[in-house]
């Protein structure tokens, strides 16, 4: 896997059809840096309202209930969004991003904002073939509120080209993103309950006699 440089990023942006890297819109040419593309803050946000649930247990919260404990709001351009000390919000990139099947991405915060105490991204790997807005996990780890404005460059996307398998160079590239956050327009709430491991782990506990047997399969539970 090799990190793409500016010229390679620009080539990928100008490529045709399926091999094209899409970052739409690119407001300024200088968003493309030496080894990454700067991405901006979008206008849609979500926060946990935590109404009626004692905590966040992905084995117990599923489907519509996960949506129901989040509130979604829009923040128009030009108005500051104050992130309070300790507050956590889901936001998204302003840009709509599509990676071709031979590129993976790593979304990371920009150092200017990190130095103000803003955490932008905590799970930044973007799979090949992904399309949509990228979700930011925004957190303020200082003891002072931070003003955010939609449109600000707060993150950067580094791009890596997938190298052929050493033992099987003819093996085809991934066919495209098939993960659970597709398609994404604006921030997406967690779908952690879809991870089958949770079900398996609970069943394992029951088999070993270290945990009660579950009444329902959490991956199938609905609010």
């Amino acid at each position: 896997m090799s990190l793409l440089r500016r010229g390679e990023i620009q080539e990928a942006l100008a490529a045709h059809a399926g091999s094209r890297l899409v970052v739409m819109p690119l407001l300024d040419d200088d968003q493309v840096g030496d080894a990454s593309i700067d991405l901006r803050l979008g206008t849609e946000f979500m926060f946990l309202s935590r109404t009626g649930v004692p905590g966040l247990d992905p084995a117990q919260i599923a489907g519509r209930q996960m949506e129901s404990i989040h509130e979604r709001f829009l923040q128009p351009f030009g108005k500051p969004l104050w992130l309070r000390p300790g507050q956590f919000l889901l936001g998204s990139t302003l840009e709509w991003v599509r990676l071709p099947n031979d590129l993976a991405g790593l979304l990371i915060g920009r150092s200017s904002w990190a130095r103000l105490g803003l955490v932008v991204e905590m799970a930044g790997l973007v799979q090949p073939g992904y399309s949509g807005a990228l979700t930011y996990e925004l957190a303020n780890v200082t003891d002072s509120a931070i003003a955010l404005y939609p449109g600000l460059r707060i993150a950067q996307l580094a791009l890596y080209r997938l190298t052929p398998e050493a033992d099987d160079p003819e093996r085809p590239l991934p066919r495209g993103y098939t993960g659970k956050y597709r398609p994404a327009f604006g921030p997406k709430a967690s779908r952690a309950w879809e991870d089958k491991e949770i079900t398996k782990l609970i069943r394992l506990g029951a088999s070993l006699g270290t945990a009660p047997r579950p009444e329902t399969d959490p991956s199938e539970a609905q609010a």
Partner: protein
């Protein structure tokens, strides 16, 4: 595909779209926890499932028969199911308190941009969901003018509020939101007295006055012959109301078409195509008549070549709908109203074009970006930015979304509601609207 088959396919696709919108809407309302329990959403869901189940039965029935009489009966039953969806839309909205998320910022910006082009004077838009399954404007200008006059106070300085409502479950139906333009037309018509201007352009007003008096006499005589009692004054009032309201409705269709081009026509067909095409009311002309006059203006603006070239079978079908209904020989009211509207039609088109002025959307304006925008739509990319780095205009975006999806050989009329109900496309479109405003503004020095 025969005409009746096409019609049934369209009605089924249209019903599927409305049912899916309502189901999504109910799910989103249900996701907001409250203290009102779960029985109401359950009632609504079971009703929606019942409508969908009955529609499936009718589709099966239609497959088993080739008899046009059976198909006509099935089409009627599908239309009734569509009316039931409208009833459920109202019930669900009322019962669950309309706790919907906000309509997208892109649509808000688009309607504001259109208002600046269509409505003279400064306006402050208020866009809100409604329980009724229809778009409407609440005529704030007329209401407040009347109140201020009654109590003899001066109107406040600053922008005039413009309150427009959309069906709450259609929040994400960006393509259908072209119908907001019709509502802006109402604001323009009322603020600028446009219906009076239409009447002033009638080619023979003195002659029309005489025919109006004759029509009243004939209508009263018709009622008397049928054993019903009605006064000349009642007929006159009702006839004047009907004519004024029809003129305003057709003017609003024309303003929307002048501003958005065929995107308005396609949204209109997607949203209202499952209504009874030849049924009119005092306040609204029949669907078929509205399509007829809308097409007249679209053709006058030069859209026929684009539409017929890209949407062959779909346009043939839409043109077949636009055949004006002919009133019965003894329907004096229908005959009179139809003839007057036909005489006013050139004036309606002219005033609509003048009202929209330099913002009239033409095939030439669309043509420069058409191929690129339609290709972006087909590739599943929000059509925000052209290769030149320029922003895609909003009207180009609306039309590109339709033509990108419908503009291929074999596209049939049932694809019109299918495209309007394609939520991935609608989400792309909504995001593209918002981002194109940003991009355009960003590029300004």
């Amino acid at each position: 595909m025969d005409g009746s088959g096409t019609h049934i396919d369209f009605l089924v696709a249209s019903l599927d779209r409305s049912v899916a919108e309502l189901r999504r809407g109910v799910d989103s309302l249900d996701a907001v926890p409250d203290l009102q329990g779960t029985s109401f959403p359950t009632y609504v869901r079971i009703s929606i499932d019942g409508v969908a189940g009955r529609a499936n039965d009718l589709v099966e029935e239609a497959r088993r028969t080739a008899d046009p009489v059976d198909h006509a009966s099935i089409a009627t039953q599908l239309r009734r199911l569509h009316q039931l969806v409208s009833v459920l839309h109202r019930q669900a909205g009322l019962g669950m308190g309309l706790k919907t998320e906000s309509i997208g910022l892109g649509i808000v910006y688009f309607v504001k941009e259109a208002a600046d082009a269509i409505v003279r004077g400064d306006s402050q838009l208020i866009i809100r969901p409604d329980t009724e399954h229809t778009y409407s404007s609440l005529g704030q200008h007329r209401v407040f003018k009347s109140v201020f006059n009654s109590v003899r106070v001066q109107p406040p300085q600053g922008p005039v509020p413009v309150l427009i409502q959309y069906p709450w479950a259609e929040r994400q139906s960006v393509a259908v939101h072209a119908l907001f333009l019709h509502e802006l037309g109402h604001e323009a018509a009322q603020r600028d007295g446009l219906t009076d201007e239409v009447w002033a352009r009638h080619p023979d007003l003195p002659g029309l006055d005489r025919r109006f008096a004759d029509a009243i006499e004939q209508i009263v005589a018709g009622h008397t012959a049928a054993g019903r009692s009605i006064s000349s004054e009642e007929v006159e009032t009702s006839l004047r109301t009907q004519l004024d309201q029809w003129v305003e409705e057709l003017l609003c269709d024309a303003i929307a078409t002048a501003y958005a081009g065929p995107s308005y026509l396609l949204a209109f067909v997607a949203f209202l195509g499952s209504s009874d095409h030849d049924v009119w009311t005092i306040s609204h002309p029949a669907f078929a008549d509205r399509v007829h006059y809308t097409l007249e203006l679209a053709d006058e603006l030069g859209w026929a070549a684009v539409l017929d070239g890209k949407l062959g079978e779909i346009m043939q079908w839409i043109r077949s709908l636009a055949v004006l209904s002919v009133p019965a020989a003894n329907d004096h009211r229908g005959s009179f109203v139809k003839s007057v509207i036909d005489e006013l039609s050139p004036g309606i088109r002219g005033i609509a074009r003048e009202q929209v002025g330099s913002s009239v959307f033409t095939p030439a304006a669309y043509g420069s970006a058409a191929d690129e925008v339609e290709q972006l739509v087909r590739d599943g990319i929000p059509p925000v930015q052209l290769a030149t780095k320029h922003a895609v205009g909003r009207r180009e975006m609306f039309l590109g979304a339709w033509l990108g999806k419908l503009g291929h050989s074999g596209a049939s009329p049932d694809l019109v509601p299918n495209v309007a109900g394609d939520m991935t496309l609608q989400a792309l479109h909504g995001q593209a609207l918002e981002l194109s405003f940003l991009l355009e503004d960003w590029a300004r020095p």
